[in-house]
Assembly symmetry: C2
Homo-oligomer: 219 residues x 2
């Protein structure tokens, strides 16, 4: 099953839209892909012939089993590259999307698996979205960057943004690890640092850089 760039973009857009809504409409897709409804109809027919979609005219569309499998692999590539760009190339997490849109279409199986190993099999991308594994499995819950959490919220650390020795050293020093629970106390505008309180411990301050490297879930 070899897909063109255009086909992959349709599959990915349908995947994301059908998470929220049920069946995805032609107009929704056209808006999402910055194209016209007539073009969408054409492509839906084509992808239906390839058994990637369940599509009935006027009834909207959903991914077939095979379509979902393809979508998960595209999302996997996209999020792995986003992680690479932030963790290795020092991109800001807000400037990686467009570049990852291009890299995701390089589909060498070997490249993707070696990249995954090189990155240390990350579970979440820099936005906190889960990265599907090689079989398409991924964590269901949405994780948040600590920097985005409002004061007063109780959260639990789920994963860290990189595996660098420097980060791990700092985490050990602050006694923060996976599944550490913490209450967000205050955010300081001056340096974007965050004051937190770890269960049965004192208040500590976390720098912007560290907060951006911590992914948490609400408890």
């Amino acid at each position: 099953m070899n897909l063109t760039v255009a086909e992959e973009n349709y599959i990915k857009a349908i995947f994301h839209l059908q998470q929220a809504e049920g069946n995805v409409s032609t107009n929704q897709l056209a808006a999402s892909l910055h194209t016209k409804p007539a073009s969408v109809t054409d492509m839906l027919k084509k992808l239906t012939n390839k058994n990637l979609l369940n599509y009935k005219p006027y009834q909207g569309v959903r991914l077939s089993k095979e379509g979902k499998k393809q979508a998960l692999m595209i999302v996997r590539r996209h999020r792995l590259w986003e992680f690479f760009l932030v963790d290795k190339l020092q991109f800001g997490w807000d400037e990686v999307h467009e570049v990852a849109e291009e890299l995701e279409h390089v589909s060498s199986k070997k490249l993707v698996e070696k990249l995954d190993s090189f990155l240390g099999h990350p579970k979440f991308d820099p936005h906190g979205d889960p990265i599907p594994d090689v079989h398409g499995n991924m964590v269901a819950i949405r994780q948040f960057n600590l920097i985005d959490i409002q004061p007063g919220t109780l959260v639990e650390v789920c994963s860290v943004g990189s595996q660098s020795a420097e980060l791990l050293e700092l985490l050990r020093h602050k006694n923060i690890g996976i599944s550490t629970e913490m209450l967000i106390m205050k955010k300081f505008d001056f340096d974007h640092s965050v004051e937190i309180k770890i269960k049965n411990s004192q208040h500590i301050n976390i720098s912007q850089q560290l907060a951006q490297a911590l992914f948490v879930k609400l408890v």
Copy 2:
């Protein structure tokens, strides 16, 4: 100047062919790109309109100044990605070409420059071909991988394949550095190690891994 993948592939092919020969013929290009002469003629007209080529019907073609500039940036991306694949993702140097063919078309300026920094501004790709810098300048001489040199040859170290601490430690220990001259004595089939003699020093043995990381020129 935004080029399509097809256009970039033509520019790159012309660049490589005009190194060897003078003007590049339609048939040569068709063979090199696995396409038909008629298709080549069409594309040559198109690229000529974009001022990337100097082309006269029946007279063959050469890159214009702007075309050469574009070609050098494509080659730069290709070789940087090849270096990345071998040095970071542990690909064999003989299996990177096809993947790099795809990655080279991702043309984000920022991506390429950050990748270059991340890799330590390498001067040669894993095949010993020079990597053009951001201005299109590159070393003229062809370098060779030490592993490919025949016994009896006198060579001089020009660059090393990576900047890892582990490699640098080993080189220091063996007293090998840039511009070290060495005579290749013997190659062992069992482990692909190489016996060399450094000027004014004793014979030493170099492992396959180390030999692959050393780039030399003939003296």
